[in-house]
């Protein structure tokens, strides 16, 4: 039963993919588009296979992933810590809450010119940008999840003899875990988008750089292949976080 369900899910996903490729192919034929404007799916497929066999491509992937993972870890940890403080301490919430509310609407992309100015095209600039993007998602989801923990659980903790710090970490933070996990998933998506966007504008290596270089030499098939790789890596990251969440929060 479960086997059949899985098979039909894969089949449906494949049908979706086929529809996209068909529309793509049809558009080229119908409008008589040149290769430079929109290459055929098959050509992009070939280019993609070529990329997978080329070491420079993997170096670009490694650069982008490294920027992403470093920024994600830094922004995630800081975001959860600040989120706990805001969720637990009304004084902290009233002090830095408004600042955070204002800053989180300045999207990461608005910071790209400044990070280029401050950090050049180095790794640091991208890491800062990803950390910034992830930080706000994590602050907001963590503090909200903690603030909405069932108040009965707090009273239970007190009744059982837990100290306030134990209640904060073993009850509130633990009860907030599902909310924080969904924030981690949203943060990963936003962080990955931020990496690629930053690389488009100012970087010396990475997937974004590979794509802008290809675009300047009119290698449109490489541009599209690079975009597909970005999508696949983003989807993989989201999928991995989803699996980790299901394993860890399996109650």
């Amino acid at each position: 039963m479960i086997g059949r369900l899985a098979v039909s899910r894969v089949a449906l996903a494949l049908i979706g993919l086929v529809i996209v490729i068909a529309v793509w192919q049809w558009t080229i034929a119908h409008y008589g588009l040149a290769r430079i404007v929109l290459p055929a799916p098959l050509e992009v497929g070939h280019t993609l296979l070529g990329l997978i066999g080329s070491p420079p491509f993997w170096r670009d992937v490694a650069v982008s992933l490294r920027e992403f993972l470093l920024g994600y870890a830094i922004g995630g940890v800081l975001g959860v810590l600040v989120g706990i403080l805001i969720g637990e301490r009304p004084l902290v919430r009233m002090t830095i809450g408004p600042v955070i509310e204002a800053l989180r609407f300045i999207v990461p992309f608005a910071w790209i010119p400044l990070t280029v100015l401050w950090f050049g095209t180095s790794l640091t600039g991208k890491v800062v940008l990803v950390a910034y993007a992830v930080f706000f998602v994590m602050v907001v989801t963590t503090s909200r999840s903690i603030a909405t923990v069932d108040p009965t659980l707090t009273r239970v903790g007190t009744m059982l003899g837990m100290r306030p710090a134990e209640i904060a970490l073993k009850v509130h933070l633990r009860a907030a875990a599902p909310g924080i996990a969904s924030g981690a998933k949203a943060g990963a998506a936003l962080g990955w988008i931020a990496v690629v966007a930053a690389e488009y504008i100012g970087a010396s290596a990475g997937l974004g750089v590979m794509i802008t270089n290809a675009s300047m030499s009119l290698a449109t098939a490489t541009v599209i292949a690079g975009m597909i790789v970005i999508g696949i890596i983003g989807a993989l990251a989201s999928w991995l976080i989803g699996i980790a969440t299901r394993i860890w929060l399996n109650y």
Partner: protein
């Protein structure tokens, strides 16, 4: 007539209760007043409440909703301090903080969803210093006592409402509390499950004979479980009367039950005879 005699007993039982409270064995509320202060004004909830619960006695508190019954429990649990008056446990004023004698069950089970049933019952024991293996063994014993043998590895999300409430009570009783506080623990389960849980709870109290303060809005529950019923007035609440319950009053088909029921409901301002409609 029975009303009158019970009412005339009230001052005697009150003064007796107060004196034993001062001598320091059970739980005593002495001239408690409490006002909640918020930005949009202050709400007085308790007005000069005095009564006491003797060691091993079960006191059921009934009253109109919002009359401050839960505030009484929070005071007894040391979750907050009254605006004026003193709450005593074993002759000592109750201070905010942890009371090692305390066990409490809530209106909602309040189980930690990430812990198994066994871990939920054991966590209070380990927090209070028991070893993991001891806590585990005692949790399993208590789960057997409340009729949940074999559910130790289940998660709260897999339990029915009545079962979850049993776990919440098992968690409180596993602490072997000398002071047991119950905040309408059976209010959120269906009527039939409630009757079963009440009977089970009554039997469980015989194990350790804790001093119990049991808040309910169900007068029949109060008669079934209580040694005394403390009837509160509307907010700001004071003690309207204390109705002593005898063993024979717990026969639902008996005259004692009917007269205690009538007395309590009339004190609460409820019309008890609808036969002339």
């Amino acid at each position: 007539m029975s009303e009158l005699t019970a009412a005339s007993k009230q001052p005697a039982s009150l003064s007796k209760a107060t004196s034993t409270g001062n001598s320091g064995e059970g739980l005593a509320f002495e001239r408690i007043s409490h006002t909640y202060v918020a930005a949009n004004g202050s709400t007085p909830v308790l007005n000069d409440v005095t009564f006491s619960v003797e060691p091993g006695q079960v006191a059921c508190v009934v009253g109109p909703s919002g009359c401050g019954k839960s505030t009484l429990l929070s005071l007894a649990a040391g979750l907050m301090r009254p605006t004026s008056g003193v709450t005593h446990w074993k002759g000592k004023p109750i201070e905010p903080g942890t009371n090692p004698d305390l066990g409490m069950a809530f209106q909602q089970p309040g189980l930690f969803p990430w812990m198994t049933v066994r871990q939920n019952v054991a966590v209070g024991l380990t927090t209070r210093g028991a070893s993991r293996s001891d806590a585990r063994r005692q949790a399993d014993e208590m789960l057997t006592t409340v009729g949940l043998t074999g559910f130790g590895d289940a998660y709260p999300s897999q339990l029915s409402g009545g079962m979850a409430q049993r776990v919440g009570i098992a968690r409180a009783l596993a602490l072997r509390p000398k002071l047991l506080l119950m905040d309408e623990p059976f209010a959120s389960v269906d009527a039939f499950t409630r009757l079963k849980l009440q009977a089970e709870f009554k039997a469980l109290l015989k194990l350790d004979r804790p001093t119990v303060l049991f808040v309910t809005h169900d007068v029949s529950e109060a008669i079934l479980l209580g040694d005394i019923i403390v009837v509160m007035s509307a907010r700001p609440a004071s003690v309207d009367r204390i109705i002593p319950i005898e063993r024979e009053d717990r026969d639902r088909a008996g005259r004692g039950y009917a007269s205690k029921m009538t007395e309590a409901l009339r004190a609460l301002g409820v019309e008890t005879d609808l036969s002339h409609d």
